[in-house]
Subunit: 340 residues, 4 copies
């Protein structure tokens, strides 16, 4: 495509994340235009499309992808709908930014992996947006320099004030810890080999039947030990922290941003961001901009289908460990040369 | 202009700031296109324009402004060239984003003020980009809520690792402290009434004849006392801090961003950003995006010509205090109703 | 004893800790006098005693305890020598401050437990000095207030720059993690029920054959999950941190003490204390002062023989887990009413 | 005196500070005994003395100093009573620890200076206890190393939640800022040469007629510029901070001690100590212990009469600047060789 023409994007799914991406593409991202929005609820798609010049509404992803001015697809529909949309886009050789999870399980992820390999070039970027967060990027850079030696342990904290009603215990792994899985693989540049999930005493804020917080251990190829505190109903804010313990130093990412207030009750301190959209706003922008820029150059970069598949496989192991209370080894296919 | 067409921008001046704004408009800002670049060095303008599709090169601002596809002007030429370009743009009723300073002195700023009032609506936004910095914005929000009571004092720190060779002692006021002047006026929503410049013992890093650091006191209409440590050759990084002392609490903006490192020498801590482009990168983006968005809506928001004039008047008082070692009162014309 | 006469103390063991306690009793602690020093190396005891007015040297604890002006005993000899000295002191009904460990294993600790119960009142305080550290004391106070709800998890970090040559892998548990064991029991006011030791990739700073760092999980009676990073050769300083994750808030003890330095390389930060004597200097002082004060009032307070026994039992489980790589349940006798 | 006998101390004045020192000497300080307490209110002195074994009550300092078992004097009476007690003690060649101020004005301080010089050796230590605070000590050490180059500026913050009713505006200088005066002289090892007091808008928490906060500038012999924010009614806690701006780095002493709390309202942070006794408890202990130890060795160390005189002279200049709103030069006699 001519590099100076704006990239025509079809956004599949217009829920919370989809709508936020539409807003982002229109007002924050340089070089893109929203040309199609897709939702199984026709009315919702139409209302949204009507407010955007040159944008049409669809109920079927395939129809949107067939539109003349659609150059690329951003998938933000529910996870179970991803596989069909991904295969359709690969069939048409269209670049895709697919919100995580790639697909809900390892088996379906493998089918996407196969399809992309048959196509012969990368077209899918998975939406692991923490790789675009300024702080994680600095952490990666510090670890990559080699000055700190090998990383021996990673300590992660992942806290949410509360979860929506429909959020299940398995989603603590599949929707929340999946971020630490990807970040761990990316920071250490190696695969996760085993998972153990521990269940401490549960907060009374958690819904009946959900054990929360949970404490997850990952083992990696090099023997690094990674722990993740996932706390879905901590009550106070959205807190994402990471600490890398290396042979020659320690790096910590914390939450001391913004102004420090000292108030009439004698306390000093700051404020924890209330949710992930505020905390990672810039990361989402950077992610989508990077995808638009790469796509306009005719390339696909960022987290790959392999990364999406690996996350699905580790999640499966995690959910099994959560269910059976034991250490579970992760079973990955051999990494195709295509994704080396 | 039709709101969906990209805003055609002429960038006047292609030095460090101008080139950075061209890059920003092309790759970070949504809804704008660089249609013209202007530089008195014809070759430099042409080289830059040739790399951009649909962009022409000029040596005269007026010629660029006359081009059919130019909707707005971003002025980033040296200060002494601003007045002519501003008057030309106002004459053509073109929206302008003008890098600070508005003009080099209060008298010329007043001429711009008059021209805009004659035009009858705001068209000029001055480039005080700290108003778009996330931390200053939070500070402003906290002070504006009223919960902290009146602001009694502001403590500012403004440190640079080193200044270019051609940087003079007066520029410590006119180019550096001018930011604290504007931020003070904006945070407190009132004018500065007097300035005193103190000269402590000077660092041996300063060039011969320059007293550095300096310590500047502002008094404001409400009697708030504001101190600014300006340090041009502190040797280690670019540090911008602010602390508001209020009746019912204190707010501090500090430099604890990014990862915290503990290293083999037993030290823990972080890193100071090396320069203002890194520290305020997001603020510049937000500023230009806000200008593009407002312009496409047919509005002018952000720092006004009055803000540019007030800064020029306070700078004049500051340079006089610096030179004569005494407190100097600031002499402002009465604020026109047009800028209320 | 008359409350205004200084407490006559016999110090058993004159190695690093013993000599430090002698110095402390002489120059920091109010109301105590060192009347006897005991060491199996007669020469070392004599040299030390000669420098102190009114102090005699002994090679046998029993002989020192028999001296007319000895009112109390501070035991700082190696762990295997503790049992005999403790039983001797209990036999004479003398108050004891016994450096940790109480004894090297649970069986011998139980014999001391029996002896004190037969005596019928508490006479032994175990040297878990973290209970006297200002920061742990504040942490305990915060947790005790109840405002934060139940404690669900504790995250501990315990890092040393390096260990002496003779330090074994088992000592990582018995001499280092034993502090986190006691602090956990004290903060949560409950027993530890199981221990699992994990061994991540090891630092190349560790001596051959030692796995370092290790990552220890405790489970407690209420189901709280406690993790401890013990790192014996982290290379840079002595770092002790703790974070309590509660139902209604989180408390963190960190290492941001003392001045913050910004230096010519653009880094800001502080310094990690190099060893435990500097980090816990005030805690040792407070501990010994509390013991002297209580003893002069005729009481025994502070960590009890039960606390020493419980630590020994948890250590045994920890060493077993370390050796066999599995979760080990802790086997405690029922707590005697005497120690309720 | 024989070094193993406890130092017999007479405490003059049994108000808040005097009673606190009696408690300190009895329960925290090694090697001292309170042998006499003096108060013009006979009943108060007697009640206190009766509770201490071997301690007598007096209404006259001279009578207490004449007692057989009194080796040294701690003066904690109101400032106007200091001169007489100091001269009496010097006349008897008794070591003195004198709470600040040495005397209420420069003229009376000079008389004490003369008396001590006539005696021919130092006997008076002034109670500037910040010199014994762990953080100021580290700051002094860092500045003294020379690695940071010359100190160009010092920024001090000194905030109190509120002042007692009888506290006057002059006392902001004489009782509060006097600490920053001494600390400045001590850190920089030079005299203060001029003082300017600025009065910003005043908090509505201040009593009628008192301007609070105030902002004080010191100039020093080397040209360093020192600013002090003194805020008597800041409303929230006792906050003492200092920042040294040097040629090759910056050191900051802040208030991030103790545990960091994140609570259900989404705020993280710590707590400001409520008063100076809590903030400087260890400093007071260290100061009195140092005095007792030096006195038992037959020496006088710590802040001298010269330091007390210099503070009095700077305070006089400060009060004059406060009253007349102008810069006032400090007039010091030439420093006697005795105090070099």
């Amino acid at each position: 495509m001519p590099s100076e023409r704006a990239l025509g994007v079809a956004v599949v799914g217009t829920g919370k994340m989809g709508a936020d991406h539409v807003r982002r593409l229109r007002h924050r991202i340089s070089g893109a235009r929203v040309r199609a929005v897709v939702d199984i609820e026709a009315e919702r798609a139409k209302t949204l499309a009507d407010a955007i010049e040159g944008c049409a509404a669809y109920t079927e992803p395939a129809a949107a992808m067939a539109a003349r001015d659609v150059d690329a697809v951003l998938i933000a529909s529910p996870g179970p709908a991803h596989e069909a949309a991904l295969l359709e886009a690969l069939d048409r050789d269209l670049p895709v930014l697919c919100e995580k999870p790639l697909t809900p399980d390892a088996a379906s992820a493998l089918r996407v992996l196969d399809a992309e390999q048959k196509l012969g070039h990368r077209r899918v970027q998975v939406g692991f947006m923490r790789r675009y967060d300024a702080e994680y990027m600095k952490l990666k850079r510090l670890l990559g320099k080699g000055e700190l030696g090998r990383t021996l342990m990673l300590h992660h904290r992942h806290r949410n004030p509360a979860m929506p009603e429909w959020f299940t215990e398995e989603m603590l792994i599949n929707d929340s810890v999946v971020h630490e899985m990807d970040v761990t693989r990316w920071l250490l540049d190696q695969e996760i080999t085993a998972v153990t999930v521990h269940k401490p005493a549960s907060t009374s804020n958690a819904p009946a039947g959900m054990s929360d917080p949970q404490f997850v251990l990952f083992e990696t190829e090099s023997g690094a030990l990674v722990d993740v505190e996932i706390f879905g109903h901590c009550g106070f804010g959205y807190q994402v922290q990471a600490e890398a313990v290396c042979e020659r130093g320690i790096v910590r990412m914390d939450d001391e941003h913004g102004p420090r207030l000292t108030t009439a009750d004698g306390r000093w301190g700051g404020r924890v961001t209330p949710d992930y959209l505020e905390r990672f706003e810039d990361a989402y922008d950077r992610e989508v901009q990077a995808w638009v820029d790469a796509t306009r150059r005719g390339e696909t970069t960022g987290p790959s289908v392999w990364d999406g598949y690996a996350a699905a496989a580790v999640c499966e192991a995690g959910v099994l460990s959560q269910r059976e209370g034991r250490r579970v080894e992760v079973d990955l296919i051999e990494r195709p040369a295509f994704y080396q």
